[in-house]
């Protein structure tokens, strides 16, 4: 479980996060949504320790990040898996080497044990023939799956995903969404996803946090988002005719 208490973050004179508080529960897919510039990425990067909030605390299962010593912070980071927007796979490494990289860096396992684990997670993300290919030789959807495999290879407690569906076709996007949800439940991970893909919200939004201008404007489940009359959420989520009709149909039922 990740607990955020009243965090504030500024860049120069501009305050990006204005007292955001929430709880991201374990075993759930927690989504951060909002328009561009609403502070989603800054919030995610604050959770990752890339940005340091000026005010407030972030605690990982009771461990307050800002109170940890640097070696404790490093240890905590090994419990984090991250899926970057573009995959962020290492160009010079094969798929297999990319996935095995965290194990090579942080465990003393021999290469056979590492390979077994790599094979297992690649099979889990339904990639069995790509071991020796370079990231440039596989499709965007496959790259995302390799990135998920790399994120989960070291059995993380926390999984962060930044726009996991950007640049993917609808089929692959749904596949990635389902994979993230399955992995979250299977490994009982605290998953936090930064997205503005409404399909993801409808598919896997177990806990949705809506940010507007750096303020938490609304929080709820995907079922609650259909019924909300919060204007900011309605304007953002139901800006397309398709989702308006989906909402109308849902409310009629």
């Amino acid at each position: 479980m990740i607990e955020i208490k009243n965090i504030e973050k500024s860049f120069g004179d501009t305050k990006i996060l204005k007292g955001v508080s929430t709880v991201f529960e374990t075993g759930k897919t927690n989504l951060i949504i909002g328009q561009s510039g609403s502070g989603k990425t800054v919030l995610l990067k604050s959770l990752l320790g890339i940005h340091t909030p000026e005010v407030g605390t972030i605690s990982f299962d009771g461990r307050i990040y800002s109170d940890l010593k640097s070696n404790e912070k490093r240890e905590l980071r090994t419990e984090i898996g991250m899926l970057f927007q573009g995959g962020a796979l290492f160009d010079s490494m094969t798929v297999s080497e990319n996935v095995g990289f965290p194990l090579k860096m942080f465990t003393n396992d021999d290469k056979h044990k590492i390979q077994d684990r790599v094979d297992f997670v690649l099979k889990r993300v339904a990639l069995v023939d790509a071991h020796h290919k370079l990231p440039s030789e596989i499709s965007g959807g496959m790259q995302k799956r390799v990135a998920i495999a790399r994120a989960i290879v070291n059995n993380p407690k926390y999984l962060f995903c930044d726009e996991p569906n950007s640049g993917l076709d609808p089929n692959t996007a749904t596949l990635i969404d389902n994979l993230i949800r399955e992995i979250t439940e299977e490994y009982n991970i605290t998953t936090v996803i930064n997205t503005h893909d409404m399909n993801s919200v409808m598919e896997i939004g177990e806990n949705i946090l809506f940010l507007k201008n750096g303020v938490k404007t609304w929080e709820g489940t995907k079922e609650e988002i259909f019924r909300t009359d919060n204007k900011a959420v309605v304007d953002f989520v139901y800006s397309s005719n398709l989702f308006k009709k989906v909402r109308e149909a849902y409310l009629k039922e």
Binding site: L48, G49, I50, K73, R74, E75, R77, T78, I80, M82, F84, Q85, G86, A88, L89, F90, D91, F101, P102, K104, M105, F106, F160
Partner: protein, 248 residues
């Protein structure tokens, strides 16, 4: 304002050095990274260094020979002048500037591309000291840079010999006599001291520009150009300082 920006960049450059040595990457991983960098930075540079050295050594010899109008000046001056030019300036300084283009732009663009594609963020999120992981192996590989310059010195003088003897500007004996006359071992020491310092600049300045770049693919190109300019400027400046310190 501009001065403040430069000062801040200089401060950031020295802080980068501190960070490079802060938290070491596991040796079993680092070892492979060092070998990879030796291959990419040192071995891959040998071809172009050999080519330039032979031909520029030849040009130095020919130009010296063409300027020897006075019959009282001994012909062995061609070998002497070639040796001095190649060892004192051409190999350490000229080749280092060429390497600022070849090796430096490779370093900036490879690290810069990693920054743009969030690979550096990925390393940091995993709890890896990305500066140590990316820059330290380059600094270790660059320890072998004086060997490249040693080869360049030999080939430069060899190029001078070929141009002199086969171009009909002097005899083999004259050239070899010239190369051997008034030899000062300290000049070689001076050249290698310079080379070592230039090597550190060649690895660290382009790494700095690649690591701290912001923006997209276009900015990677711009960062490579800026890195080349600054590495060259620093090499020329440090060359002057070291010459003043060591040879006067």
């Amino acid at each position: 304002m501009m001065l403040l920006r430069y000062l801040s960049q200089i401060g950031k450059y020295f802080l980068m050095w501190k960070e490079i040595f802060r938290k070491q990457t596991k040796w079993s991983v680092m070892k492979n990274l060092i070998f990879k960098e030796i291959d990419e930075l040192i071995i891959d540079s040998l071809g172009i260094v050999a080519f330039i050295s032979v031909f520029v050594g030849g040009v130095v010899a020919i130009q010296t020979a063409l300027n020897l109008d006075n019959p009282l000046i001994p012909k062995n001056l061609i070998g002497y002048a070639t040796r001095e030019s190649v060892i004192l300036e051409f190999s350490p300084t000229f080749i280092s500037i060429v390497m600022a283009g070849k090796m430096g732009s490779f370093i900036t663009s490879s690290i810069g591309s990693m920054r743009v594609t969030e690979q550096i963020d990925a390393l940091e999120v995993m709890g890896i000291n990305s500066l140590n992981y990316l820059v330290f192996p380059k600094l270790i590989a660059i320890i072998l840079y004086p060997f490249v310059i040693g080869i360049s010195m030999f080939l430069g003088v060899f190029g001078g010999y070929i141009a002199t003897v086969y171009g009909g500007f002097g005899t083999s004996i004259d050239f070899i006599n010239g190369v051997q006359s008034d030899f000062m071992p300290f000049h070689v020491t001076y050249a290698f001291i310079k080379t070592f310092i230039f090597g550190i600049l060649l690895a660290s300045v382009p790494s700095f520009h690649g690591y701290y770049m912001k923006g997209g693919a276009l900015e990677v190109g711009k960062a490579s150009t800026v890195a080349f300019v600054w590495t060259s400027v620093l090499i020329i400046f440090v060359n002057y300082l070291l010459t003043q310190l060591l040879l006067t």
